[in-house]
Amino acid sequence: MTPRRERTGRQVGFNMTPMIDVVFLLIIFFMIVSQVVTSEAELVQLPRPTKSQAGEFRGPRKLTISMVGDGQGGVARRKVGPSVARDEEELASMLVETHRVARERGERLHVVLRADRNIEFRHVRGVIGMISDVGLEFVDIAAEAESTRD
């Protein structure tokens, strides 16, 4: 008699297991999603202008060029869209190719330049020069938006 009563006693109570399952699922979901969001956009220490005017990107199609700094004013890594460019020459050829493909489709590319705030100006100007040489006209400069700052 006693063991049976014990068993029934344990079964009384609200069954939390499905709820905990769902909560854990949500946790894992948000953890993974937050990681995906960061990895898609190369982690760049963007410039922080005073009273930033940086707004939302408005354009038909964007091509993101990321320049990750090496901490000493140089460039550690360059990326055109999702692919890595080994040096400036490769970046230039990738730009030419992307522009050609876009023009064949009749699209106007807007470049979003995401460069590390510590990179020396000459490196960035070099890339801007390349963008201009290719014939791309719209270059938006990525900067930190005002809302995240104190």
């Binding site: 909560v23 410039p47 020396e120």
Partner: protein
């Protein structure tokens, strides 16, 4: 009840290896005594666990906000076939940014004696210039920065020009 307990004590003392099984029954004795309430109390207490789980959930939800919001400053490069542009009646506003080894750069506006001390002042000065006769928001603003100046400062100057509602901001060549 008392005799029951005594018997268990004796059992424990005599059978050494079987003590574990006996222990369980000793623990169960108090439950027997308060039988009416015991049924409800036997369930695993999930409240602290749920508290922690919710705390974690909220932590990660808030944590995702740590990704810095970024925006873009719109820009346009001078086009190759832009030569047939109307001649500019007034010279463009040239902003010189001189590197001072890591610190905020020295800002000068070409042809003007007043020098802005920071980018906040640069924006107000640029806005003032725009109100002068001959200048408008289409007046080109040329950013002439030192080679080794950090990109941060160049963007800061660019941002100041955007703030002053200039539409035509370009980066100067060497």
């Amino acid at each position: 009840m008392v005799t029951d307990g005594k018997a268990k004590m004796a059992g424990e003392q005599t059978h050494g290896p079987a003590g574990k099984a006996r222990d369980e029954s000793t623990v169960a004795t108090p439950r027997k005594r308060r039988r009416p309430a015991a049924g409800a109390r036997l369930t695993l207490n999930l409240v602290p666990m749920i508290d922690i789980v919710f705390l974690l959930l909220i932590f990660f939800l808030v944590g995702t906000r740590f990704i810095t919001a970024e925006g873009v400053l719109p820009g346009r490069l001078p086009h190759q076939d832009a030569q047939q542009m109307l001649p500019v009646p007034v010279p463009p506003i040239q902003i010189d940014l001189a590197s001072t080894n890591g610190d905020a750069p020295e800002i000068t506006i070409a042809g003007r004696t007043a020098t802005p001390a920071n980018f906040e002042q640069l924006a107000t000065m640029l806005a003032q210039i725009q109100r002068e006769p001959g200048y408008d928001d289409q007046t080109p603003v040329v950013l002439q920065a030192d080679e080794e100046l950090a990109w941060d400062h160049v963007v800061n100057a660019y941002n100041a020009a955007v703030r002053a509602k200039y539409k035509n901001i370009i980066f100067g060549a060497e």
